[in-house]
Amino acid sequence: MSTVTAPAGPTVHPAGDNLLEITDLVKHFPIKSGSLLGRTVGQVRAVDGVTLSVRRGRTLGLVGESGCGKSTLARVVTALQPATSGSIKLNGTELTTLRSGQMRGLRRQVQMVFQDPYGSLNPRRRVGSILGEPYAIHDGPKGKDRQQAVQQLLERVGLSSDHYNRFPTEFSGGQRQRLGIARALALRPELVVCDEPVSALDVSIQAQVLNLLEDLQDEFGLTYLFIAHDLSVVRHVSDEVAVMYLGKIVERGPVESLYSRPRHPYTNALLSAVPDPSAAAQRGTSTRIVLTGDVPSPAAPPSGCRFHTRCPKAQDLCSQEEPLLRPTPEDPEHVFACHYPVAAGEPLSIGTWSESAQAAVPRRAPSPARTSITKNREGSA
């Protein structure tokens, strides 16, 4: 589904297919010493060589723990932060070398929906002024026309045109997020980067906002880069999912393939942590993998595979050599970066590892217990 430009990339789609292409994107934040001169004493490697692409009209879900660099990636793609190196191409146009004058055009094409519906709307401005701002900046309609455009936007996202003169404080969290979505749509962008758009909302409201996003995607042909840490949300909205750990993509693939046959132990652990209300879970037969320890500091990432410090399958090789993204045998578009990937149907939990389990070969004959776990996982699919 996406282009893999890693050395082992098996498929290369025509460039026209992809709206957004990110290649070897790096974003380091310098760590300054406290002295007056502010000497740089280190780098926080927030995003460290990410290659991704998003097809036009589709949704790429990006998941990972807090602090893995998801939001930084979003801010680099939307040009809120300059990239340290690498390339971001939108419709074939390189964004990282754009000058500020050309950036204005980019702003029309890439918009962002923010995580915090309370912080992202200026509390001292009225709805009409907040939603009219994109038009004010980009020489859009003025006066009565602008008001009409804003009111149409309001109605399109499920609010009332009467809300034009209200302040953001008068709205609930879900309504505020609708305002944030309306603002992002005002300029009719092609790509919308959603940075955890529903994680601050009640679960019941989350579904409504997700449905709104889907409807708008169909209506306006939007392409989404959808960032979240909630795997069920990502599964619901995405066509393709990328899993990020400490600034790197560890696994990426079509949503069905990745959720049913995760290959990277980290993906596996994340998926096993999704609360599952199915009967099997209640009987206690599902295995939850609990990762121990914290995410290592992105200022000093572990050598080799960055996950090896917490990985139940880690071997010597993992700390020495960094695994590259490679395709799974079943699906060339499903890629992962692991020396000892999880075999299909293999339960992965701490304490159940034997020496033989570390082979990268799929297991032929899963035990009855393992079968039930697999069923459980697929049952929720």
């Binding site: 949704t59 801010r75 939307t78 040009a79 809120l80 950036m103 204005r104 702003r107 029309r108 918009q111 962002m112 923010f114 915090d116 912080g119 992202s120 709307l121 200026n122 509390p123 001292r124 401005r125 701002e133 994109p134 900046i137 980009h138 499920g158 609010l159 009332s160 009467d162 809300h163 209200r166 302040f167 404080t169 008068e170 609930s172 879900g174 309504q175 609708r178 944030g180 603002r183 679960v203 019941s204 989350q206 579904a207 409504q208 997700l210 449905n211 709104l212 889907e214 069920s232 949300v233 599964r235 619901h236 909205v237 995405s238 066509d239 949503v255 069905e256 999704v274 929720s380 699919a381």
Partner: protein, 323 residues
Amino acid sequence: MSATDLVDISDPGGEPAPTADAPAKIAGRTPMQLALRRLRKDKLAIISAVFIVLLILVAIFAPVITAVIGHGPNVQFPNTGLDAFGTPVGPGKHFLFGTDELGRDVLSRVIYGARVSLAIGIGATLISLIIGMVVGIFAGFYGGPVDTFLSRFMDLLLSFPFLLLAIALVARFGPSFQLVLYLLAFFGWPAIGRLVRGQVLALKEREFVEAARSLGSNNLRIMFVDILPNLLPLAVVYSTLLVPINIVAEATLSFLGLGVQLPTASWGGMISESQNGSLYQVAWWLLVFPSIALFLVTLAFNLLGDGLRDALDPRSGRSQLGK
């Protein structure tokens, strides 16, 4: 999109419809309306506000009022205003606040003194406010060397001995209304600038600033369209508290003979005059009335400022202690 839904979608139609039918019942209130409602509960602040408004009206219409009284501020009444020994007459039917040593009506002079006090107090505060806001916004928003330079400059001004500089400048340029006004404005803005800078440091990290940037706002637009409105409550409160400081400073300068010059009536000047030859020992009204005026206006502005602070930011200050 994935065909499977892990998320429970019970109501695909959107949130409970925005109350389009009955907006009047659950009327939303703007932040300003909410603040005013809280302010209205603060009786002291309301009384102070009424007093200040009345005083401003008195100052504006001072010529009319003194014409009604029939005593101009600088008109001497040697026959009725001074007794047989040439000493001032006390408060009475003819002169409500008494007269001074030249036979002038103290009431008229207090009324005219309000003009000087308010013009300098409010004028200097407004100038300070504009300079302080602009410098504070730039320092806080840009940070780095800009901030270092502007902040150190503000620190420098704040550490200046105000009175010494005032004396030196008056010695050089001669005392005048304008000099006092600019002097107070010049020394007033760094305090506002530092306050605003701190607020901007916090505000610029808010997501709505990032949102503005992602829409394509330039720095100037973000500073003055997005951040500035969020500074206004703070500015209103601090200005209200700066006005009495400036009024007292003006009175101090006039008292020392460095401010508004005689015969123009000013409260500080009147208090100073009352001390000439210890006149106040026999004519207490010369000292008491301008002092009370000064006291009341200072108190009113301070109470109003406190009330505004509580009303605009309910989480801070007195309101919690008062409950």
